[in-house]
Symmetry: C2
Subunit: 336 residues, 2 copies
Amino acid sequence: MATIHDVAHRAGVSPITVSRVINHSGYASRETRERVEVAVVELGYVPNRLARSLRSKRTHTLALVLTDITNPFFTTVARGVEDTASDAGYTVIFCNTDESESEEKKYLQVLLQQQVDGILLVPASSVSDSIDLIRKQHTPVVVLDRRVPLQAGVDIVRCDSEGGAYQLTRLLIDLGHRHIAALSAPLYVSTSEDRIAGYRRAMAEAGLGAEADQTFFGAFTQASGYQMVQQALASKPRPTAFLAANNLIAIGALKAVRDAGLRVPEDIALVGFDDLPTALVISPFFTVAAQPAYEMGRKATQLLLARLAGEAPDSCQNIVLPIEMLVRQSSGSTLS
Amino acid sequence: MATIHDVAHRAGVSPITVSRVINHSGYASRETRERVEVAVVELGYVPNRLARSLRSKRTHTLALVLTDITNPFFTTVARGVEDTASDAGYTVIFCNTDESESEEKKYLQVLLQQQVDGILLVPASSVSDSIDLIRKQHTPVVVLDRRVPLQAGVDIVRCDSEGGAYQLTRLLIDLGHRHIAALSAPLYVSTSEDRIAGYRRAMAEAGLGAEADQTFFGAFTQASGYQMVQQALASKPRPTAFLAANNLIAIGALKAVRDAGLRVPEDIALVGFDDLPTALVISPFFTVAAQPAYEMGRKATQLLLARLAGEAPDSCQNIVLPIEMLVRQSSGSTLS
DNA sequence: TTGTATGCGTTATCAC
DNA sequence: GTGATAACGCATACAA
């Protein structure tokens, strides 16, 4: 555990000279530089970033707070974040909140104490308490995937959930479906809210008003998708199509439909949000509104790094990335 | 950005007293405690862990260095690690090496500088350079998923790859297969080495010697699995069964088989390592030797934390968790 | 080109 | 019970 003093002593120079050589800052004669470098190697000196950070007020650490890294969408986001951060010399701490606001706050408290330089947050709810917590410490935040109130005054990188849901619903309507059920998570998550809004807009436009609205509010999990479909299949009129608010719900929905002895898409059409990574899929089946997960992680991190460097625009950014409609088998063809 | 001094000033006490109140260490009269607590709230004081860590030499941060968080096996491991670490008050930094030793070393250097308390490492190779690097700083390491030489003197948490591969191969042999190809990653990764060893042991036992051995060395990716199967199908004798060394290879293999106009399991049997998370799968199809990914992450982290607490046994642990054989459709039934 | 003094925010040590 | 002092390891400001 050699310190900069030990190196300085061995090289016969002062600590600050060692610091300059190591950080390539300031001047140092070739001879001095070499003596220092030799001493560094001989002692196996590893600079202590803690001490450096305490002085410089920069930890070169970002935090990624999301709901569940196990969801392939977020896994891919995380990879995008880590790649981008790493290229810029930053390390990334990750935290799973499981959609719990209290967990989220606990994590944020610790992260702020750790003096992370910036935070990427997938907020568990649209309430901006957590954001306020972070802003109080003047720590830059970029919100990922979900909206928070504009007055929170924070950068956001997300996709057009409303538009995507609208397109998916339109697709089903155009295929002849009239009884379309939406399988969603609670409305206090903005992606739920927006996707339901898009669904309802498409339904209303098609003259399928409130009486045709069949929305279920569960959670972003396979189990919840399964349950919601069980309920939906028992309701009247029985839906002929499902819109799943995310990938896991879609998988649960497909299972439930099949377990009920029905086929997708022949008996029931099924569309959803978030494509599964191509590396995990043998033959793509789901018709989805695909969000560019990796790109979202990348863009959000780039924005955060720009903020840290003071290179971002003054006004807070609200970046909405395009959704890609991937029409595959699960939506079926025209309803007979 | 109030400091402990500001709080002390406001509460009319000394900084050290504030420290004691905050950390619930040492004595403080109820009255003093209350005055401090009020001041903390009023000033929105957030303790600086950097400074604390500099003194205490504990950062309460672990690092998880793996090859690719995008692989669902590692995603689940990561979740196990984070859950366990978080429960114990630790945060986790994660890094993707993409099987590159040089990336691995770059990361480790940074992590050591950051003074992480411990490291969980899925080593890119069996060479123990990286381990030596870490040990030099007296930072505890637990190696995950893969072996490293025993003389590295390091804790390991992994599964019985050799045994799993043996069982999978035996299964195929018992089903009547004689031409079984193994689809692997390079031998300098211990899981490859072990799985090939298990495959060869089963083959040899069945009197299928070196001449029957068909091993392909690619990478742990879907693309590589696809390519290896393309090659294998062109070789003579054409294999009637494949053993994939991991989940992604298996998926690529299945794709290649189907693209070649063949069916699994009717024309070709296929077995592999690592189950896909149930949340992602609609109807499980692959016969696999399943490793308890979450449990591996959990156990490894527990061991690491025990080391940090000085509660682990002196000798380095070599924990081998059991593999679960999940026989499903892809292995087919007795060869006709 | 190199060195000295000092401070970052906290806590260990020892004193009162 | 509480406080003064120093130290953790490094880098900034200024001086030489």
